[in-house]
């Protein structure tokens, strides 16, 4: 049995980890001898405590994001399969839960490791956090138990709860998501308290109930931001998994299946990704609202360079996911009609990317600065400010949406009598939204910033409005449309699969970077303004160092994921089986000509 084999593997892993853990505090204690009896810190051997906590926290977060994000869309996909009776959705959902399940114990293990590191190496900090949050530990533990239990049932009960009992099964999926999200929300309260403490008196002691400490400035924005980002992350990792399986596939059938899975994963990631900037904006505002200095440190101070890197990564995500869609059009007969749209869309995305990544104050030599009359370029400087960034990011979102719309109709010819009107309205909606975005973008230069901030809301509403309107027309318009041919799943150009992997790596890296920003803005505080970091690591690391750490941890994450998926795949190696019965066939094209 595969379960037994996996169990043995995990036990061995767990044993090694525990042995290491048990050895470490002893090591540290000997090192700390001569210090006071209750040290505030102990030193983690070789690496140092901060690096150890950083790496484990980031890894834990990556895994946690995965196992919380994936079930959200897994249950939606399962429900689609249940309502439409389309077996491939059920297969996919099961595949997704399988991945979640495989990553479950690693997540818990890393969480425990993180806890041990806190207790062992930051005892004073942990004692303080416990004095505030002790009641929530119990809630957390209970939720974790409930979550594990429901996911187990969900996974193992797949066949048992099929047929007329399917609704119970979907219900289990929903339930596990509720528990999962609750876990996220509780854990977020600890992290956000460290950034923007609330509900405490001058001495740092809890004033009222623990609720006041949980409900701090950044709690809600982080909850929302993380929830959405988890979906994006889960989507990209699943797409990368599918890409991996696609590239290693032996038969056309298998290739078709994983091509399809990759497409769905990317679609989910993209759909959630489009709203992520707005959630980030909300978080930024709340940080400013909590503490002006912290806001400036983040956006204008020494962290401002981080946003340039972030901009480049986000640009890559936009370009990459559009590229994938365009490559995907090739497997759809009839898509030739839309090829001509690719160059103009690419031009918009490229110009948008360039403006989006233009730094506010540039890296310049003295001569260049003289020629420019300052570190702000008189022309390019216009691209560095918020007005320009908001404008282009909204245009890039619109373009990406257009890519998707074209992809959707690639093999369809609508037969409804009102097609002309419908199309006209759709294009008008696109044009109108673009006009609103550009108008407010330009107008933003002529008003003071307090008014300008309001403009970004109009831009967002215009874009979201256009998206909703276009979809509302598109769905009925293409209902019962004539088709120009089946999608030939599996015939996509293989290099598209590397794009999927690139997107997953880029997003993981981006998450690490933003995590660094989130925790770096506390600077030399454990709990901002309340509990000072007096350890040897109190300095905020330089960006280059941080980038190296993030890269290494990202690498470690993918190695671990590879290992775990390999373990998970051992069971059904070679057999194209879902769970007991054969995986549904997906209309496959013949193997790609290479």
């Amino acid at each position: 049995m595969t379960i037994a084999r996996r169990g043995v593997w995990l036990l061995v892993l767990l044993g090694v980890a525990l042995a290491v853990l048990a050895a470490l505090p002893v090591e540290a204690q000997t090192a700390a001898q001569g210090a006071s009896r209750d040290p505030a810190y102990r030193a983690f051997p070789v690496l140092g405590s901060r690096l150890a906590v950083w790496a484990v926290a980031q890894l834990h977060l990556n895994f946690a994001a995965f196992i919380l994000g994936v079930p959200i869309f897994a249950v939606i996909i399962e429900a689609i399969g249940w309502r439409t009776g389309d077996a491939r959705y059920d297969w996919l959902s099961h595949e997704l839960v399988k991945l979640t399940f495989a990553a479950f114990s690693t997540t818990a293990l890393l969480g425990a490791l993180l806890l041990f590191l806190f207790v062992g190496y930051y005892p004073k900090f942990w004692t303080y956090m416990t004095s505030i949050f002790f009641p929530t530990y119990w809630i957390y533990a209970a939720l974790f138990f409930a979550e594990t239990f429901t996911v187990y049932l969900w996974y193992y009960g797949w066949d048992w709860l099929s047929g007329s009992r399917k609704w119970i099964h979907v219900g289990l999926g929903i339930l596990s998501n509720l528990f999962g999200t609750a876990i996220l929300v509780v854990a977020n309260s600890w992290v956000t308290f460290m950034i923007s403490p609330a509900g405490i008196d001058e001495s740092g002691a809890l004033k009222g109930g623990v609720w006041a400490a949980m409900y701090n400035y950044t709690w809600m924005p982080i909850n929302i931001h993380r929830l959405i980002a988890n979906i994006v992350f889960g989507g990209t990792i699943c797409a990368a998994y599918a890409a991996f399986r696609f590239l290693g596939a032996k038969s056309d059938e298998e290739r078709a299946r994983y091509d399809w899975m990759g497409y769905i994963g990317n679609f989910i990631a993209l759909a959630a990704f489009i709203v992520l900037p707005f959630a980030g904006y909300y978080l930024g505002r709340e940080i400013y609202a909590f503490n002006q200095t912290m806001g400036i440190t983040m956006m204008g101070g020494f962290m401002s360079w981080l946003w340039i890197i972030q901009a480049i990564l986000i640009g890559i995500l936009f370009l990459g996911s559009n590229y994938y869609l365009w490559l995907g059009m090739e497997r759809i007969p009839g898509s030739e009609r839309y090829r001509k749209y690719v160059p103009p869309m690419l031009i918009i995305l490229t110009l948008g990317f360039m403006i989006w990544a233009t730094p506010r104050s540039m890296v310049v030599t003295l001569d260049e600065a003289r020629a420019m009359g300052g570190t702000h370029h008189p022309l390019l400087g216009f691209f560095g400010v918020m007005s320009a960034k908001n404008t282009v990011v909204n245009l890039m979102i619109l373009t990406t949406f257009l890519s998707f719309i074209l992809y959707r109709r690639a093999n369809k010819i609508p037969t409804k009598p009102w097609v002309r009107t419908g199309m006209a309205v759709q294009w008008t909606a696109f044009a109108a939204a673009a006009c609103v975005v550009v108008f407010y973008g330009v107008y933003g230069y002529f008003v003071e910033s307090i008014v300008r901030i309001g403009f970004s809301v109009y831009q967002v509403v215009a874009v979201l409005g256009a998206i909703v309107l276009v979809m509302a027309i598109d769905i009925p318009m293409f209902k019962g449309a004539r088709t120009t041919g089946q999608i030939r799943w599996g015939t996509i150009a293989p290099h598209s699969q590397y794009v999927l992997i690139l997107l997953a790596v880029t997003f993981t890296w981006l998450m690490g970077l933003m995590g660094f920003a989130r925790s770096g803005i506390r600077q030399h505080w454990h709990v901002y303004g309340v509990m000072r970091d007096t350890s040897v690591d109190a300095a905020t690391p330089a960006l280059g160092y941080a980038a190296n750490v993030i890269t290494l941890v990202t690498l470690a994450f993918f190695l671990l994921v590879l290992f775990i998926f390999w373990l998970g795949g051992l069971g059904d190696k070679g057999q194209a089986e879902a769970h007991g019965h054969a995986a549904p066939a997906i209309a496959a094209g013949r193997g790609p000509e290479r």
Binding site: T293, W326, S361, A369, G374
Partner: protein, 254 residues
């Protein structure tokens, strides 16, 4: 013009054209760091363009492939084998050779201000502070005029008579004096922020991101509190910029 239809030629043309436009079309010239960034993005886009469908990719690859293997392209091949490494070597040389110039610097745009500063022995709160002189709208003109005098007496040497950072001392300083006409300086800041910068100058900049190398003097001992607020009013009046205001309920967005 049939060669224009070749994807390879198109790709090279786009790259060359983009470089020429960005390098020579932007005045004053864009810094190399930004130019490199732009060109990297365009290069990526060009690669996407040529490979976004199979035919186009084959079209793009074929001249490269034939240059590498076809016997009749032997001369071209030999030339490339010699020229390309030489170009790369030249590039490496330009990157490694020492130049009589300080290397480019990363500077934080606007460092975070302290929550409060000490001014003539008393505590002065930066966060949330408003310009007190704005309360009396009737005397605003008078304050601006006073501010103008203070500016001409103290600041013009560096920040320039057009407030564009081109005073006659300016060429001697790195970093150069701030250009107040630029939408990225005072237009993005609250008046309290300017107050801190003028009162404490370069020496008052925070420890992080040092060295600042700023020659901006600290004016706390030479100008009174009121005079500082006056010169701030002048800066905004003269440039036509608006200070960033605190949002309702002491919020501030960015």
């Amino acid at each position: 013009m049939s060669f224009l239809r070749s994807r390879f030629v198109q790709a090279v043309l786009v790259l060359v054209l983009a470089f020429v436009i960005l390098r020579f079309g932007i005045r004053p010239p864009a810094p190399w760091s930004v130019l490199t960034l732009y060109m990297a993005i365009i290069f990526m886009a060009v690669l996407i363009f040529v490979s976004s469908d199979r035919d186009s990719w084959r079209d793009f690859i074929s001249p490269i492939w034939s240059t590498l293997v076809r016997p009749e392209r032997r001369v071209l091949r030999t030339v490339l084998v010699i020229v390309l490494p030489l170009l790369m070597g030249y590039y490496a040389y330009t990157q490694a050779a020492a130049r009589p110039q300080a290397p480019p610097e990363l500077r934080a745009v606007h460092p975070a201000p302290p929550a409060s500063i000490q001014l003539k022995g008393k505590e002065f709160n930066i966060s949330g502070a408003e310009n007190p002189l704005r309360k009396d709208a009737a005397r605003l003109k008078e304050h601006a005029a006073k501010g103008g005098e203070i500016y001409i007496r103290n600041c013009v040497y560096c920040h320039g008579d057009n407030l564009d950072g081109k005073g006659h001392f300016a060429p001697g300083f790195n970093p150069p004096p701030a250009n107040f006409q630029d939408p990225g300086t005072i237009a993005m800041l609250q008046e309290a922020y300017l107050f801190w910068r003028i009162a404490k100058g370069g020496p008052g900049l925070p420890k992080e991101s040092t060295p600042w190398n700023s020659v901006m003097p600290a004016w706390e001992d030479r100008l009174s509190e009121e005079q500082i607020w006056q010169v701030i009013i002048y800066l905004y009046e003269a440039t036509g910029q608006q200070p960033r205001r605190w949002e309702a309920g002491e919020h501030g967005g960015h």
